[in-house]
Symmetry: C2
Subunit: 316 residues, 2 copies
């Protein structure tokens, strides 16, 4: 398949491009202008065929898609960090919502039957009552922050075009996914990064922690990107992606402590101790299993070990 991957320099984008190339797909990844890339992103940038593209630029999007003529577009580009979206809603709307219109509008006009795999988020469900768990694709959405709002809005844009029939869309709602290469602003990566620095003697054996009780559905990014490709091949409508079970942040931390073998003092950070708005969430995998033939294969311990060793190498 001839695939276009937007946001190919991101954490998930890098894993997806690698998987698609392994499967023999033809891939063009779009990346931010070099000046805006981090060192890690720069490195990923040069390992695959790529084009510079700001997806919020409608004309540039149109040119890129019209020239490359992809059979499938994996749209991953966007703001993925909740506090970043919270800090600037107008920019989030531009990058996470208007960009989706840019992509669909050109597919609609080209009438090439391009399929778009739109990456939304399990965050669109917001807070779900314990009695209504696990979440399924028909659980009502209730976004609670600018990030999840922008994801729900992006889905509305995609569904508009899907109804008009010129482009096919499959919407994926992955829950928390982790793996080597994830930015250390995200909790599991942050713990692993700090432990790796301690192992290298670059940080004292003390870890500041916030509320550890929130229970989330953590999966491995490499399982998630496999689902993206299966969705491009066989998917219709909306799919939740996750591990199918809830794990607390405390369990993530304890697994990482075990993996590191370090004896670390935990120091509660009062500023981050308030209870989470969403105490527990996890998804059903029934629809993804049944229609995509997908299920996660990588155990959480292996994922966390890989994340830890990624940071250990980075800190050497």
């Amino acid at each position: 398949m001839r695939a276009l991957v937007t946001g190919a320099c991101g954490f998930v984008g890098g894993h997806l491009v690698r998987h698609l190339l392994e499967k023999g797909d033809q891939v063009l990844g779009t990346v931010f202008p070099p000046s805006e890339l981090s060192a890690g992103q720069q490195e990923r940038r040069f390992s695959f065929p790529h084009a510079v593209l700001d997806v919020s630029d409608a004309e540039a999007c149109a040119r890129c898609i019209a020239e490359y003529k992809p059979q499938v577009i994996y749209h991953l580009a966007g703001i993925a960090f909740v506090p970043e979206a919270e800090a600037d809603f107008p920019r989030t709307l531009l990058v996470n919502v208007a960009a989706i219109d840019n992509i669909f509008r050109v597919c609609h006009l080209l009438e090439n039957g391009t399929k778009v795999v739109l990456i939304s988020s399990g965050e669109v469900y917001g807070k779900v009552r314990a009695a209504d768990l696990p979440v399924t694709e028909s659980t009502p959405i209730a976004p609670t922050n600018n990030y999840s709002l922008s994801k729900a809005m992006g889905e509305l844009v995609a569904q508009r075009y899907a109804r008009q029939g010129q482009s096919e869309v499959v919407i994926l709602r992955p829950f928390n996914h982790i793996g080597p290469g994830q930015n250390n602003r995200f909790v599991a990566s942050s713990f692993a990064w700090q432990l790796a620095r301690m192992a290298r003697g670059k940080q004292e054996l003390c870890l500041q922690v916030g509320n550890l009780e929130a229970r989330r559905d953590f999966s491995d990014v490499r399982d998630i990107v496999r689902a993206y490709r299966l969705a491009a091949l066989n998917g219709h409508g909306v799919y939740n992606l996750g591990s199918g079970k809830a794990v607390s942040i405390r369990e993530i931390l304890h697994l990482l402590l075990e993996i590191s073998g370090l004896d670390v003092r935990l120091k509660p950070d009062p500023a981050r101790m308030r209870p989470s708005e969403v105490p527990e969430i996890y998804t059903s995998l029934d629809k993804a299993r049944r229609e995509l033939g997908w299920q996660p294969q990588i155990e959480l311990r292996r994922t966390l070990s890989d994340v830890y060793h990624y940071w250990l190498q980075a800190a050497s």
Copy 2:
């Protein structure tokens, strides 16, 4: 009640401000900077207490609301013309979506228990199958253009804050409403404007028409703004507002021809003859009747007569 009306210089805003003042409410209307107002808007501007405000400016919104301390905010400001929204989605997102966040964010922080009456649109339902008419508040939404998308997105923003409990919100989804003062870009107003110009000898007795078969739910703006105030007093959740029946564009035209008494030749415009995406739509009024004690009172013929005479005066 101490009311803030955003978009007070608009067609509906003008009617709402008049109604609130008649009812003895205290009103501050927000208006665009004078340089951006049309002559008709300028005129409305100086007939009531007002402040200049661009609702897409977060700081200006915060200042205005914190100073005036309204008990209720009627949020009407925004892009209301479908082709205008279609032509510039990023701007539509800023004006119709980010502005709603600006308003709720300050209400949320002030914790004054301000109630927000959010004006969405019956357009959020998109195309509804004949078997599913009339539309009710639980009909699934399916927005089909940038305007209705932005309205659905604005609702998501409002619901986010409503769930957090610091501000109360009532969401209104009015269907097509017409009346004196409406811009002549809208179909009924456009017909009436052209007929008034013919009556004044300023246009030949020939009217270009597009597809006249689309059937819509037309109500009088003065009935609609009455519902806005009742919603501020007694409303919770979402309400559809309309006449409760469908009328074709052809019937609107024929009523206007009767009212004008002119013998006009109709000239089909091939460019506008394609069938409407939504052949027929009308709403149930059950919920608004039951919970707001509201129902429309003004007959369509009287509305159209008032619109015609408004333009007759303007063309004199």
